[in-house]
Symmetry: C2
Subunit: 320 residues, 2 copies
């Protein structure tokens, strides 16, 4: 058998970090998770990370070579190969290329998780063969990765693709970024929860959701309530879909993508979200774009998506 | 002297069409204008156009060769080299490559005027050396050309860059496209006029603009009134700048451009528009982008911009 080329895909999250060895067909040979422990230093983190990496290598196929490392991380800057003051991680400014070189000397690429997800989608998921599409990741925030002519849009400083922080309502909901009315304050797991609480304050209809505290409620509860026909949950999904659909009409006007791909927990709410998003987007679309832009669910398996995205980033670079 | 390479730049407007011979340094050797006469057929138009082209050739330097044609036209599709049902022109669907071949057999490229202006800016104007920027053209509408990694964003179907038709106000002003609340209904020559009339209906302050009919008023009158301290005109500029600044904060979040360049009659209103646009953009910007995105006036001379943009389009292709 030939020597098998693999890459190391690393997804650094606020809570956990996942790493895995991935071949070019998207097969994951070994995967590990570690707590990110962002209060400790970055040096401590990378020490633990590469400890686990040694463990992964034991499970790698014989005769395999690790030929690159792709990293998805908050505030990952592709141009500089840095992680710059990531929110919730007490790391400051990390020169990733330098840190990694201490452990293994192969090409490294860094970007944020939504950009990595977009590349994962293009290599292994719903965007195979596409050159112009937008990936929207719904989780604690709304992330986005924009692909134009088969390449990620990094912009002048490496941080393009912050669709979650476009304004959808002047003086709207306060966002973690300090602004008001950002898209992600409406469209994200916390966003739909905020909508449920707003609706409970406005309408009188009964709902089991009225027995759950703000801190206990999560988007899965809202999804489950919607499936049972709960009016407030259904209304919350419709409102979320409306805000997202209107925003994506704008995305289409900017970029005229072949598809907009929705990834993340909320995206699994299928007909409660994706169908009405499509409807509201079409309703607000510049006529020339109508019935041209697909709204698709991610083609990446949720548990593997982060590692696949990070590995796609470095596969993309290695194939240039 | 060496054989001199020139291109023919053609800007097809709703009313007039301008054509000129341009070298790679942006020098225009000869220029002509003809009425577009969009009620007549496209065949008639191109017949007249290439009649004038023969006239241009007489004024071209000796030993010059025409090596390409660039065309800026409403609904110009770069991918297909077509003009597709241009508004206000009774032409239907034009296969430009085929039509032009009857007259001259050189490479041809087509796009819309805002995209052409963006390329003109990159080759000859305020965006020389930039790889990531956005051109905004203010006229009877708001056009935009997006440049990422040194290339125009055409999107999946060739029609990307319709920032003028992103929504800035749900159920806002009726737009020519049939939608409501499009950016260009607020930010354009007719947009600022609509704002003046709205303001006259709301406030009581005196203004010379109250003596002008809607059909007679143009944006130059509003600019002149603003220079004289007219409160309504000043307020109208401020409102226009506010809407544009907020929209451009969104543009920055999508694309993280080095600069946003404003072109067109209204852009000449300098401190009445560009300065407050910058202010309102910064106020609404995702923190990571603050003080990074320049707002610049066009570096193209207004009378020459259209021809320079169209010629830049084909120079860009010829140099690939």
């Amino acid at each position: 058998m030939d020597n098998k080329n693999l890459v190391l895909g690393i997804d650094i999250g606020g809570t956990n970090t996942v790493l895995g060895l991935v071949d070019e067909a998207g097969k994951i040979f070994a995967k590990e998770t570690l707590p990110t422990n962002g209060r400790n230093s970055a040096a401590d983190f990378f020490e633990r990370l590469f400890g686990l990496y040694s463990k992964l290598l034991i499970n790698a196929p014989k005769d395999s070579s690790i030929i690159g490392i792709g990293i998805g991380a908050p505030n990952g800057n592709f141009y500089k190969c840095t992680i710059e003051n990531p929110p919730n991680l007490n790391w400051g400014h990390i020169n990733v290329a330098e840190v990694v070189k201490k452990y293994i000397n192969v090409p490294v690429a860094v970007t944020n998780d939504a950009n990595a997800a977009a590349l994962g989608e293009m290599k292994f998921g719903a965007a195979i063969g596409m050159k112009n599409f937008v990936e929207i990741t719904l989780g604690t925030g709304l992330g986005s990765g924009i692909v134009v002519n088969g390449e990620l849009v990094y912009g002048h400083d490496g941080f393009a693709g912050e669709i979650g922080h476009t304004n959808v309502k002047p003086n709207g909901r306060l966002c973690g970024c300090g602004m008001k009315g950002c898209l992600e304050t409406y469209v994200s797991a916390p966003g739909i929860k905020r909508t449920v609480f707003k609706l409970m304050s406005v309408v009188k209809v009964e709902s089991h959701l009225r027995d759950v505290t703000f801190n206990q409620m999560d988007s899965k509860m809202i999804f489950d309530a919607a499936k049972e026909g709960d009016i407030i949950a259904l209304e919350a999904f419709d409102y979320t879909a409306k805000i997202l659909g209107m925003a994506l009409a704008g995305t289409a006007a900017y970029l005229s993508p072949e598809a907009i791909i929705i990834f993340g927990g909320l995206a699994n709410a299928g007909d409660f979200l994706l169908e009405p998003v499509k409807h509201y987007m079409e309703e607000n679309l510049f006529p020339a774009f109508r019935n041209k832009v697909k709204i698709l669910p991610s083609g990446l398996k949720e548990g593997d998506a982060a590692v696949l995205g990070a590995s796609a980033l470095i596969w993309h670079e290695l194939n240039k």
